[in-house]
């Protein structure tokens, strides 16, 4: 049984069909990349998997770890082990980053029948992850993402992922807007989390990130459908030829 199984997924937004039948299987230990031009439905797919309720699923099934993902609320999906790194991380004034992360971790631990972690035990583990992402400890006492630079926000997403240790991590255009140094740090952070129990879906527009996180599979999403799937070499082919030519080939 695959960790994630998507069958014939159709999704509408405001009466407009965005996803027109997606089929995808992701096994534990695998890294998949979903590539596609703007407006192809990449982010919609990521958001549906994270259970954003503004997207209406009109047909299809998604099972995660053998359970019906589409019946889950966002918090339930998170507790089951799904994590999405946001393309646009949200600023939340008035809640400190450290408090937010500990609340999230404890919500998930509680769901798994584990004891809550208090602030004292949380700190050393937290510091270690901060180091991994080359983040300043001061950011932890600041409000969630408030006044963070673009790169700091994206690193903060990966930090959350490192703390919450999901079974399936979905990176929604995490590379967009990052300079090359920040991109490397983010990619190293993600790469360090690869293991046989964890799957990662990297949603991206460009191939560059895939130099650092080499995927096992690449899927090309155009106009709500996966038009081609292949290995890591497909990303390079895309970079060279562009989406247009692959679209033309398929037609």
């Amino acid at each position: 049984m695959s960790l994630l199984e998507i069958k014939s997924l159709h999704v509408r937004v405001d009466n407009h069909e965005i996803l027109k039948g997606i089929d995808l299987q992701v096994n534990a230990g695998e890294v998949h990349s979903i590539m596609g031009p703007n407006g192809s439905g990449k982010s919609t797919l990521a958001q549906v998997l994270a259970r954003r309720e503004t997207y209406a699923v009109s047909a299809g099934e998604v099972s995660f770890n053998g359970k019906d993902l589409l019946a889950m609320k966002p918090e339930e999906a998170a507790c089951e082990g799904i994590f999405m790194a946001f393309q646009y991380p949200v600023e939340i004034p008035g809640i400190s980053n450290a408090y937010f992360l500990r609340s999230a971790l404890n919500a998930i631990r509680k769901n798994r029948g584990l004891d809550e972690i208090d602030a004292m035990d949380f700190l050393p583990m937290f510091r270690e992850k901060l180091k991994l992402l080359d983040m300043d400890e001061k950011l932890m006492n600041r409000s969630v993402n408030e006044g963070f630079s673009g790169g700091e926000k994206k690193r903060n997403e990966i930090l959350q992922m490192a703390v919450l240790e999901p079974k399936l991590a979905i990176l929604d255009e995490t590379d967009s807007g990052l300079d090359i140094d920040a991109l490397k740090i983010v990619a190293q952070g993600v790469d360090a989390m690869r293991n046989p129990e964890r799957a990662i879906i990297v949603v991206t527009h460009y191939q560059r990130l895939l130099n650092y996180i080499v995927p096992d599979f690449v899927h090309v999403l155009v106009d709500g459908r996966i038009i081609r799937s292949g290995g890591a070499e497909l990303a390079l082919e895309l970079e060279e030829k562009g989406y247009g030519s692959i679209e033309a080939e398929v037609r």
Binding site: E53, P74, A78, V90, I95, A107
Partner: protein
């Protein structure tokens, strides 16, 4: 429906009875003060929404109810009943039942011996000479009918005197308990706080009710902040959902006096909280911090009148409001900069969250500037719980109710952060937490649109004075 004449008739009856028995009835100055105030009240009657200061708050429900002065209910309240209203870690709490000081129910520990903490009625009888120079000297009964009414019935409440140079670390807490009655009852607690030069102290007014019923409490606090004093005042309103509550805090600030007012309005049906500092000495600083959280059909009106009378004073007002259900909030911030008050720096910010389609906020800045070298800014924002923020928290495993509560709490934390860490802040934090949890539990989806009005400021000359309006 009761006509105006009948209404005044009922107050006249109450007043005649009161005057015969009240403490200090033999003091000519006090007798005159009460009579003048009552005459003033009769002359103007209750305000209506045609009155600019009462544009958003209709008090006809108060005007039309025939209240009688609350009977002495001190015997009917037990210490045990008040346990839940004590503030953890605080040693002194004066209890007032329907405006009357209840010594038996009060706690009086850990206060420096030189600080006089007593009941106004007692001081009027025993040392009227200490009261006369201050009582009624700062409050303007001509501006506000409720202040006139309170003064007409002024008898009991708290009297606090902090002598020169005294540092009072323990907060001085005043608990006002309304008990309710079969018939509609009213009380007019009157507090007088005199803090002499270079003293430091914190005062807490906590208003609660033991039973339901038609109660109308109309409180006035006159606070004299001497030169170089550092004082804080907390006003906590958490009466039951049928209570009518009007309160006025009048502060007279001396030279370089630093005053902080915190208002937290959580309870009551119709609440009007007036905060009126007069910066009457050079270099005074005043921070007015407020939070109001309304639900159901609550009406919570925050009225500020900040008067800059001397040069080089600063005032800052920050009010945050959260409104759900059909609740109606008002922020009316008036700043008057008198001719002599050069180098004034006044700032005003009001932020609101509306959680339902039927919640309403009226926010109105009003700047009147008669000096020419001043800096005054104001801004107001109105928003909702952001869907993106809610999803962000939920996507990390935090359930919806907790996420809502966390976001609401984050919104209130700005106000909490302005309070000094300690037992009072912890107490306030607990009250807010409970209130928000209730609100988060009952929340049903995000609103599609809410009724908000931002009135144009009526600032004169103010456009020339770096006036800024922001609406995010």
């Amino acid at each position: 429906m009761i006509t105006a004449t009948q209404q005044l008739g009922s107050y006249l009856e109450n007043f005649s009875e009161f005057e015969k028995l009240a403490a200090g009835r033999d003091l000519p100055w006090l007798r005159k003060m009460r009579r003048d105030a009552f005459a003033r009240f009769c002359e103007v009657g209750f305000p209506t929404i045609r009155d600019e200061d009462w544009r958003f708050t209709n008090v006809s429900a108060i005007a039309q109810t025939p209240y009688h002065l609350a009977d002495d209910g001190r015997d009917q309240v037990s210490r045990q009943q008040l346990e839940c209203y004590r503030i953890a870690g605080v040693g002194s709490q004066l209890v007032f039942v329907d405006g009357r000081f209840a010594r038996e129910l009060s706690l009086l520990n850990r206060l420096p011996a030189e600080v006089r903490v007593s009941s106004l009625a007692r001081e009027i009888s025993s040392t009227p000479g200490a009261i006369e120079p201050h009582l009624g000297r700062y409050l303007d009964i001509h501006r506000d009918a409720f202040c006139a009414l309170n003064t007409a019935f002024a008898e009991d409440g708290a009297y606090v005197h902090v002598p020169r140079g005294t540092l009072v670390e323990e907060p001085i807490c005043l608990l006002f308990v309304s008990t309710g009655d079969d018939a509609p009852s009213m009380s007019h607690p009157r507090n007088l706080i005199v803090a002499e030069e270079d003293s430091h102290a914190t005062f807490v007014e906590d208003h609660v009710s033991l039973d339901g019923g038609a109660v109308f409490s109309n409180t006035v606090t006159e606070l004299v902040a001497g030169d170089h004093t550092v004082l804080s005042h907390y006003m906590l309103e958490r009466e039951h959902p049928q209570a009518f509550h009007i309160s006025t805090l009048r502060i007279q600030q001396g030279r370089s006096a630093n005053f902080v007012s915190h208002s937290v309005l959580l309870g009551g049906a119709l609440v009007r909280n007036n905060v009126h500092p007069v910066l009457g000495g050079e270099g005074g600083e005043c921070l007015i911090n407020g939070l109001f959280i309304g639900n159901g059909y609550q009406h919570l009106d925050n009225y500020m009148l900040v008067e800059h009378a001397r040069p080089r004073c600063g005032s800052r007002q920050f009010y945050n409001g959260i409104l759900d259900g059909h609740a109606h909030g008002v922020f009316h911030g008036r700043i008057i900069v008198h001719k002599d008050a050069q180098k004034t720096n006044a700032k005003q910010t009001n932020r609101n969250l509306l959680l339902s389609d039927d919640a309403q906020i009226d926010t109105k800045p009003q700047l009147e500037i008669y000096a020419d070298d001043v800096k005054c800014t104001h801004g107001a924002t109105i928003g909702q719980i952001e869907g993106d923020a809610l999803f962000y928290l939920r996507s990390r495993g935090i359930d919806e109710v907790s996420a809502r509560k966390l976001l609401l709490f984050a919104f209130t934390s700005e106000c909490l952060d302005r309070m000094k860490p300690g037992p009072v802040r912890r107490h306030v934090e607990g009250l807010i937490n409970r209130c928000l949890l209730q609100m988060a539990n009952s929340a049903q989806g995000a609103p599609t649109g809410s009724h908000a009005r931002t009135s144009q400021g009526t600032g004169r000359k103010s456009d020339d004075h770096r006036r800024r309006e922001s609406a995010r």
